[in-house]
């Protein structure tokens, strides 16, 4: 019961703030709603027992990536509103229609009836207990190569961002 109440409250807020992100007139408001949205997503993770991920969500997403967005929004202080000019070939209605179709599709798939718990994956014999320890153990054993690739990706992204954003090299 408590779990259900928690889920509905959190899910409700996630969706409300997501809608606000998309509909906000000013980009700064959008950013603020995005942060709040991410905090609720983190709460959802915590309720799912993924506390390490919840903290990472706050630390990296809410505290890091979105600050970057805010930074750019502040740098890009515009003389005319960005929405002033619309491409005459733009098909906004089609966009809504496509999105609705996709929602329908995903919804149908999702609610097709929950079959049965998939057979547990080859149980990862983690010699540790606890959420943080388990995630860490997996990251540094089975998923070491993807982990390294992810760090390479971040490094490349960092260099790329510097090259792009720097005025002159």
């Amino acid at each position: 019961m408590g779990e259900a109440i928690a889920f509905y409250i959190i899910a409700g807020f996630i969706l409300i703030f997501a809608v606000l992100v998309v509909t906000a007139k000013e980009a700064v408001h959008s950013v603020v709603f995005l942060v709040i949205d991410f905090l609720f997503v983190a709460a959802l993770y915590a309720s799912l027992g993924a506390e390490f991920l919840a903290i990472i969500q706050i630390l990296v997403y809410a505290g890091g990536i979105v600050v970057l967005y805010l930074f750019v929004v502040m740098l890009v202080n515009l003389k005319r509103p960005p929405e002033a000019y619309a491409d005459p070939h733009r098909r906004t209605t089609l966009g809504f229609a496509l999105s609705a179709a996709m929602l329908l599709e995903i919804g149908v798939i999702a609610s097709y009836g929950y079959v049965k718990p998939a057979p547990a994956l080859a149980a990862v014999a983690a010699p540790v207990t606890g959420n943080t320890e388990e995630v860490g153990w997996l990251l540094y054993t089975s998923y070491l190569i993807p982990f390294e690739i992810a760090s390479m990706l971040l490094l490349v992204a960092m260099i790329g961002a510097i090259v792009l954003a720097k005025r002159e090299l």
Partner: protein, 100 residues
Amino acid sequence: MITPTHYMLLSAALFTIGVVGVMVRRNIIIIFMSIELILNAVNINLVAFSNQLQNAVGQVFAIFIIAVAAAEAAVGLGIILAFFRNKETVNIDEMNLMRW
């Protein structure tokens, strides 16, 4: 009783809101934020199933997705800044030239 279906429906709704944002908004920064919403929708799914299967692999993948999101944000915002510097706009409808 909250089943993975509930989480999947939440995820689908969040995903769709993100897609609507990408399709409808013209401010490229907001479009980027919509993409972040989409990535979060995926993460919710992964974590929900990770919880259902009692297996932390889903969370590991969610971490990878966060890493990718960070990389995407850095490069994407770099491109936005570089573009803004040249054309003084962040309207995606005006970004229709391959070079200037």
